[in-house]
Symmetry: C2
Subunit: 118 residues, 2 copies
């Protein structure tokens, strides 16, 4: 569990990676679309996504040519549990979080993304 914390906090320590997580909070995205807003190469973004995936913060799934990235709802659990000891922070309600993500997905509120990358 300790080593996981290393990877999670290290992953969160980079602003590009935090921005990627924030984007994925709104929608699942293809790698190319994740990379679009950033002033760096696709390969660099691919590396960032690898780091986020290794830390368990996102999952990647290939569908045809496109690799879709989505948040891993459980990913921040170890970090939140650790931080809990330093401020009476409530543990994340991950079940509610997962339900929220699935609901958003089912409602199809990311049509724009599906269209722009299909």
């Amino acid at each position: 569990m300790e080593h996981k914390l290393d990877a999670i906090f290290a992953a969160l320590a980079d602003p590009t990676r935090r921005a990627i997580l924030a984007m994925l909070l709104e929608d699942d995205m293809a790698v190319t679309d994740v990379a679009a807003p950033f002033a760096m190469s696709l390969a660099a973004i691919s590396k960032h996504l690898g780091i986020l995936a290794d830390a368990g913060l996102i999952a990647r799934e290939r569908r045809g040519r496109v690799i879709w990235c989505k948040l891993e709802p459980d990913g921040l659990r170890a970090a939140s549990v650790w931080m809990q000891g330093f401020g009476q922070m409530d543990v994340m309600d991950l079940d509610a979080f997962e339900a929220f993500l699935q609901t958003a997905d089912a409602q199809g509120d990311h049509d724009d993304l599906e269209n722009q990358s299909a």
Copy 2:
């Protein structure tokens, strides 16, 4: 606020530094006492403490020859606020946390440490 997150998460990404924070959660400590349990030089620990202080996670105060290290109760706020968006996590109750630290301090439940380093 962004740059603070970089520093905070980077500081938390190291197991030595997380261990130091956990030690300081129980008691304020002198640098030498912080270093004692670790298999590395005092200079290395001093660097770690500098990183924690730069991130706003601890404060150092010189009293005589000894520099006392203590948790900075507000230090994790930016990180917890950021993480809050990823799981309906409740923001830390920092006032309660600070009150808790001061209560523990007033109760003098760290005499052992004061003795071993006086």
